[in-house]
């Protein structure tokens, strides 16, 4: 059974348009699923729904989010928060804003272990040292005493990755974890996440724009357009025989390593038109019950 199973999840802006349209997807234990789609497709929205951090301006109108078989949406807010905190973690997009500027690094890694999971402070501190070593930070003891502003962006992202793995979560949501970084460190961070994921056997929901990244890190992927899942495939199938015309267009729009000069071809208008029609027809069906 999958650790995370999202069934028919619909989210809309309060009194506004739908943002997610009956999204279903599974992430099995230890599996990596990519979420791809253009900006505004709803990729982050899915991650936020799973982690219980949807903005107050949106509401869930239907569906289930099963975490280890339990529907989070049927639990009390408190209980759902506790479960998420104990078994899931987030690797955020922007390491410069994701650490609290007025707390030292140490407590920001260990606070969940101590406050939520009841570890002793000593055990949590020892764990933090190990984790920083694992994300290849030299002099972990000094870094733990530092404030975020004393560290570089790449360093902070390593810390956030360490922090995400601290409680050995079953599932990690990584929302474009490298886009805010220098191109030079992007690859290192990506390799780091993939390595940690494999070692710890953590399920990973990986939000990205970059199909090249998907091909390297993921086993499954969901292609999203306007909150609608167009394709749910294994990565092998997707790259050899995409099932949806939009997927094929996305693939064609990605520069090939074999032929980088072929350049980016935008997704053709005809394909966009067809996908829009699909979204409209979904909404009409939904409106008629």
């Amino acid at each position: 059974m999958s650790f995370l199973s999202i069934r028919n999840l619909s989210v809309r802006l309060k009194n506004g348009p739908p943002l997610l349209r009956r999204v279903s997807l599974d992430v099995a234990a230890g599996e990596v699923r990519g979420l791809v789609g253009e900006s505004g497709a709803g990729k982050s929205m899915i991650g936020k729904a799973v982690l219980g951090i949807l903005p107050p301006s949106v509401q869930i109108t239907e569906g289930e989010i099963l975490l280890d078989g339990t529907d989070l949406l049927r639990l009390s807010p408190r209980e759902s928060r506790r479960r998420i905190g104990a078994s899931c973690a987030l690797i955020p997009q922007d390491p410069l804003t994701a650490l609290n500027p007025s707390h030292r690094i140490g407590p920001q890694i260990t606070n969940r272990l101590v406050d939520i999971l009841g570890w002793t402070r000593a055990a949590a501190d020892a764990r933090a040292i190990d984790l920083l070593a694992e994300v290849q930070i030299s002099d972990p003891a000094r870094v733990l005493r530092s404030y975020p502003h004393e560290l570089s962006g790449g360093m902070r992202q390593r810390i956030l990755i360490a922090s995400a793995f601290a409680a050995e979560p079953k599932l990690i949501v990584a929302d474009e974890p490298t886009t805010a970084l220098d191109v030079t460190v992007q690859k290192q961070i990506l390799r780091l996440i993939a390595g940690m994921q494999a070692r710890h056997g953590t399920a990973l929901l990986f939000v990205t724009h970059d199909l090249g990244v998907v091909s390297k890190v993921c086993q499954k992927l969901s292609v999203l357009y306007s909150g609608l899942v167009l394709e749910d495939s294994t990565v092998t199938d997707f790259f050899t025989a995409p099932r949806h015309a939009y997927s094929a267009a996305l693939l064609a729009a990605t520069p090939k390593y074999t032929d980088p000069d072929a350049g980016l071809q935008p997704v053709p208008d005809a394909v966009i038109g067809a996908v829009r029609a699909e979204v409209d027809s979904f909404d009409r069906k939904a409106a008629h019950g």
Binding site: R81, A89, R112, Y147
Partner: protein
Amino acid sequence: MAFLRIILLRVLTTLVTLAGVAVIVFFVIRVVPGNPIAMMLPPGATEDDIARLSALYGLDKPMVTQFGIWLAGVMQGDFGTSITTRQPVLGLVLGRLPATLELSIMALVMAVILGGSAALIGTRGRGTRTEGAIDVANGMALSVPDFLWGLVLMLVFGVLLPVFHISGRVTPSLDLPFTTGFYLFESLIRLRFDLWADLVAHMFMPALALAIPLAAIIGQLLKQSLKETMNLDYVTLARTKGYGETHVILREALRNAALPTLTLVGVQFTFLIGGTVIIERLFSYEGLGNMAIDAVINRDLPLIQGIVILFAVIFTAVNLIVDLLYAVLNPRLRHA
């Protein structure tokens, strides 16, 4: 190192400011009509009497010479002699200072507690009726100045529901064991809770009147800044760790949100201290402010000068403390 530099710089600017204040005050109160000597003498005193007394207080000399004499005295810690009471100004002023400091600090504590709670409750209930109610209360508190709040409180808690004293600092018939002027503080140290309660019952209304407008400012500004902070990434990240709303507000957002509020509170606190002048008068509270009004009525020039200089010292001290607090609370400055 950074601390030391900040302090040195502030001491220098403070000295310049104080010198400026001294010059302005000295000359302005001498230009304003009203002769202190004439006010001291009984009606029918001769020109001769006036001239003799003026010479005694040095008021017959040219203004610039007077200023030189006064400044030379101040340099040696001698602020002159009060014309009305014939006692040294410094002793008089320092004797009243603790009363005003206790009142101001009590008001500040009340303002921080009231305004802070309003901001926290409003943030906790943002987007609901709770927040609306807090906004309305803040708006009301702000639209009425402190001395009018003083009158309202007097009516409510002094007349309709007489639980607090409307005048004085302490019940005069009590016998006071104090060796310092900080009665409220000293009564706690001496474990004289009976006296402490009496002092609080006197101080409550004037302090609250001073506190209400500042509380509203703190409430509004801190709530605004908390709400913005609550949308930041590190707060969201803390939520995913399993923390509830209250923890997130207090532990993740509050300290960062408080920084911009702190600077403003510093400025507003000096206004509050200025407000003690009228509030002390209103509640017959024997502090510096009350003394200042008497001094002005009696044209007691040396006393006015002493009080104004002391207020200026307090203001600059408050600003210095705020700057230091800001540096302590903000790790980015501490390591700069």
